[in-house]
């Protein structure tokens, strides 16, 4: 029964909060209307959501989110310094990172995170989804750089998405 009313509980919750935030109000009318949307939209769009959206360890995900936010803050200052210094000392480079994570949503979050954090932009994902090609603004040691991304971002994401 709950599955028919809420085929995607997380999507429903997200839509509900999204609508309230968009309207910037918590008036009774808005709450009821957003509830209707949150129930109706997932039901009508459920054929397009083949995989269930799941969040296994919300606390771990929250911790990951905080780490990423902190890294974005630090990376902005680091990158700002790199940009304002002389640019001919920079050593840009491409590194292919071997992915252990298989969940497509996990991969896309990982790629997004890489683009948002210190001096890295994710450039390409190989067709077999096994390697992510990353461009570094200032690359010193390719091995340790790849390892750091794997330890810092991929590990928590794997725990969140692969534990099913």
């Amino acid at each position: 029964m709950t599955n028919r009313v809420f085929p995607h509980p997380i999507l429903s919750l997200f839509l509900w909060i999204l609508w309230l935030m968009l309207n910037n109000s918590t008036a009774a009318g808005d709450i009821i209307f957003s509830l209707i949307l949150a129930i109706v939209i997932p039901i009508f769009t459920s054929p397009y959501w083949e995989e269930k959206i799941v969040l296994h360890k919300p606390l771990l995900f929250a911790k990951f989110f905080c780490i990423v936010m902190w890294d974005i803050l630090v990376s902005n200052i680091v990158v700002a310094k790199l940009i304002l210094d002389k640019n001919d000392k920079l050593h840009p480079g491409f590194v292919a990172i071997d992915l252990d994570i298989k969940h497509p949503f996990g991969i896309s979050i990982l790629a997004n995170t890489i683009s948002l954090t210190p001096g890295t932009v994710s450039c390409d994902l190989t067709v077999d989804r096994k390697q992510l090609i990353v461009h570094f603004l200032d690359l010193k040691d390719p091995e340790s750089a790849a390892q750091e991304i794997k330890n810092r971002y991929e590990k928590p994401l794997m725990e969140v998405y692969e534990s099913c």
Binding site: M21, V79, P92, A96, I114, L116, C123, V127
Partner: protein, 114 residues
């Protein structure tokens, strides 16, 4: 006090947005230029939005949160557009800066970039 906090936030935001634009102009090569706008602007726009959120929360007396939605959408779209641009650049073989180090495995590279 209130105004000082807000102005500091807005100034930080303006500074980082400016640095992002300077990076876009100053860095050599397509791939390096991508770094400026994807990152320096996230914090720049972020602090300006936080300032806006605080201002309207205090001024209207009710919590103003839709600024965080702007930040959320920005954080989703900025990396995706950077990813698409660099993906296309890799596929059509855009010229790199000469000192670019390349650690992409050439064998796999062939398959993946076809």
């Amino acid at each position: 006090m209130f105004e000082i906090v807000l102005s500091v936030l807005i100034l930080i935001g303006a500074f980082f947005t400016l640095v992002g634009s300077i990076g876009l102009y100053k860095l050599p090569g397509f791939y390096m230029r991508l770094h400026g706008p994807t990152k320096a602007t996230t914090l720049g726009v972020g602090t300006i939005l936080i300032a806006s959120s605080i201002y309207f929360t205090v001024k209207t007396g009710s919590l103003s949160l839709h600024e965080f939605l702007i930040a959320l959408f920005l954080f989703i779209t900025a990396p995706v557009s950077a990813h698409l641009m660099s993906k296309v650049a890799l596929h059509i073989g855009t010229k790199r800066v000469d000192r670019t180090q390349d650690y992409i495995d050439k064998k796999d590279d062939k398959d993946s970039l076809d």
